[in-house]
């Protein structure tokens, strides 16, 4: 009997002990989890767009290293948690739920693909957590019509780019009747609207709109139509492969027409793929390392080489926009969290609005965000460049 009693007490003690140990362990884990401020990133980390995810990661990493070296945020270290969207909107949304609801990230960064960001935007506005877009240029990402908008961006966006392309074509080439070569997907459609609207505002006639497919070997028929309609400039919106086919076809036709482009050709091998005419493309960027005399650019390049030894030259960080946009976006997000004094979503959103001045890599931001303005960059921050020998060089 006594032995049985002892045994029972002992089992109870064991159970109680286990319960206490479990609670303690969870408390310790929560305490550890609460020791960092988490920043989420959902971008393409595999597949053909993996380089974009790598660029954003590099920009965020350098900024987070700097923030942590200066004492972190809210007295805690900052931690980056990444998820691969595989360029798939559905997977991006699932990852966003996981990072917000389970990992409790304070700010979520997006990637290159507009459709993925557009899938995440309604969820972020509904759950009232800030989203920072460092690359995807779709206009409706920030201009999403939500009553309470939690979406911010430090990148170019289509409507702004299209105005800049039209202005540049008129100012530099005296364009009077441009034609469009647009990729046949939602990105091309978004820019078709933007370009039509920008051209209408300037009273420009159109020589036509031609669509290109990723599988088009030869786009001479499309270009011949534009040429016969009297096009004096080509606006090009397409990624590396189709843009290269446009330049090869122009070379074959012997048509020396100015090509003013969105930032699609800014992939690593455009100079090689586009043939001799590749260097003629005048393409928009928000930032370049080449030809950039600012001390910030040189300092950033040195930091990148030190942190990522595989980076040897500027050609290894092409295009630089993903790095620069993510770097500035991270520092602005840190300021917003500091202003908020917490990681509470609505407070951080107000924290973005309260940023007065920040000296960034791309520019000095002065009152960058307000309830009406969720895009940190404007037309004046765009740079026109050429892609020469693997480097993106600003046009002086």
């Amino acid at each position: 009997m006594n032995i049985q009693m002892k045994s029972r007490i002992s089992r109870r003690s064991l159970l109680a002990g286990a319960a206490v140990a479990t609670v303690t362990a969870f408390s310790c884990l929560s305490a550890f989890a609460a020791e960092t401020v988490k920043i989420g990133l959902i971008a393409s980390l595999s597949g053909p767009s993996a380089k974009s995810g790598e660029a954003i990661t590099r920009g965020l990493t350098i900024a987070i290293d700097e923030i942590n070296a200066a004492g972190g945020l809210l007295g805690k270290q900052v931690e980056l948690i990444r998820r691969d969207d595989e360029a798939n909107p559905g997977k991006g949304l699932v990852a966003a739920r996981e990072l917000i609801q389970r990992e409790k990230v304070a700010v979520l960064f997006g990637g290159l693909q507009t459709p993925v960001s557009l899938a995440i935007v309604p969820f972020m506005n509904q759950i009232k957590k800030p989203f920072m877009g460092p690359w995807a240029a779709g206009t409706p990402i920030t201009k999403n019509g939500a009553k309470e908008n939690y979406i911010f961006r430090v990148s170019a966006f289509d409507a702004m780019v299209d105005v800049a392309l039209v202005d540049w074509a008129m100012k530099v080439h005296g364009a009077k009747k441009p034609g469009m070569m647009l990729i046949n997907n939602p990105w091309g459609e978004s820019n078709q609207k933007g370009l039509e609207s920008a051209m209408k505002a300037k009273g420009l006639a159109s020589a036509g709109i031609e669509k290109i497919e990723g599988s088009d070997v030869d786009v001479v028929p499309q270009l011949t139509r534009l040429k016969s309609n009297g096009a004096d400039t080509i606006f090009m919106v397409a990624n590396v492969g189709p843009s290269a086919q446009v330049m090869k076809s122009l070379e074959r036709m012997g048509w020396d027409v100015p090509v003013v482009s969105h930032w699609g050709p800014a992939g690593g091998r455009f100079s090689e793929l586009g043939g001799p005419r590749a260097k003629d493309v005048e393409m928009i960027q928000t930032f370049t390392f080449s030809g950039n005399d600012s001390p910030g650019a040189a300092e950033m390049m040195a930091k990148l080489k030190k942190r990522f030894p595989e980076i040897k030259s500027e050609a290894d960080v092409t295009p630089a926009v993903g790095i620069a946009n993510a770097y500035d976006g991270m520092h602005l997000s840190a300021l917003a969290i500091k202003n908020a004094g917490s990681t509470d979503g609505p407070a951080v959103r107000n924290g973005f609005y309260a940023i007065k001045k920040h000296v960034g890599l791309i520019k000095t931001y002065v009152n960058p965000f307000s309830a009406e303005q969720h895009d940190g960059l404007g037309p004046e921050d765009l740079v026109f460049t050429r892609f020469i020998d693997g480097k993106i060089i600003p046009i002086k």
Partner: protein, 290 residues
């Protein structure tokens, strides 16, 4: 100028569809099966050609020979592992197996060759020559010649040579052919090897005009199958003719109506032609015993 440029573009592209479609034709006439990884076989030819000639710096003829030899081996693998086990049991699962084989190959190449497209330099696609005032690369003119030559050779081989007659016998009466001492397994395997070599040739020809990447064959493979059906898959001349016709319709539609209408018109043409001629342009209805 508009029409000349469209014809040059259309014939070049069309002949390439025709070459791929010839690959569908040859396996169909011998075994009543097709290799749906033809697009991937085309990509394999281009990727191997690039790797041997550009990355490894081999002389071009050796690089081409090596690339086409590996394409032939791929065809043998497709027949042995993705077609024969299913066809032998009277199953049509080879349809899905060859599609899956192509997807596997595309992804293996994605991991080994890399994600970025590459440029395949060629002296035949460097300096444009003028034809009726329109610039064209010599390679664009060579592709139709190769396509027509391949159709002639295949027709002659099938009709005039002992091997060709053996091939025809295999599809008409496989058991009888076997009893007559024809190695039917060898004949069918050889047909698959020829089909992937034709796709490899198409890949090597198109690579300097386009770019080389793991995903380059997908759309070409789909269009080539469409042209094989359009031409009548039992006729070598039919599939090459249909390839050229399809390429011309694509280029002329783009030139005269705009690129938004290209796929609508081109695929509508296929539906209309097949409605009027269910066996394709030059195809024959196969007699079936009931």
């Amino acid at each position: 100028m508009l029409i000349t440029s469209a014809i040059i573009t259309g014939l070049g592209l069309g002949a390439m569809y025709g070459l791929l479609a010839l690959g569908f034709h040859i396996t169909y006439v011998v075994s009543n099966t097709v290799n749906f990884s033809q697009g991937s076989s085309m990509m394999l030819g281009a990727v191997l050609g690039y790797t041997f000639a550009v990355t490894l710096g081999w002389p071009l003829p050796i690089a081409i020979l090596a690339a086409l030899t590996i394409c032939a081996l791929f065809g043998l693998v497709v027949e042995r592992f993705l077609v024969r086990p299913f066809a032998d049991r009277g199953s049509n699962a080879w349809l899905m197996a060859t599609v899956a084989g192509g997807i596997v190959l595309d992804n293996v190449v994605l991991f080994t060759f890399g994600k970025e497209p590459r440029n395949f330099p060629s002296p035949l696609a460097t300096d444009a020559i003028s034809i009726f005032g329109v610039g064209a690369y010599p390679l664009q003119l060579i592709i139709p010649v190769v396509g027509i030559a391949a159709a002639i050779v295949l027709s002659l081989v099938l009709k005039k040579t002992k091997y060709g007659k053996a091939m025809s016998a295999v599809v008409q009466k496989p058991e009888a052919a076997q009893l007559m001492g024809i190695n039917t397994r060898f004949v069918i395997a050889a047909a698959f090897a020829i089909s992937t070599v034709l796709a490899g040739v198409a890949g090597l020809l198109i690579a300097p005009l386009f770019n080389v990447s793991s995903g380059m064959g997908l759309v070409f493979g789909i269009k080539a199958f469409a042209t094989a059906i359009l031409g009548g898959i039992t006729s070598a001349w039919g599939v090459v003719l249909a390839g050229m016709l399809y390429g011309l319709v694509e280029a002329l539609t783009t030139a005269y109506l705009g690129s938004s209408y290209t796929q609508i018109i081109a695929f509508s043409m296929i539906i209309i032609v097949l409605f009027a001629m269910p066996n394709g342009l030059l195809g024959r209805a196969s007699a079936q015993k009931v």
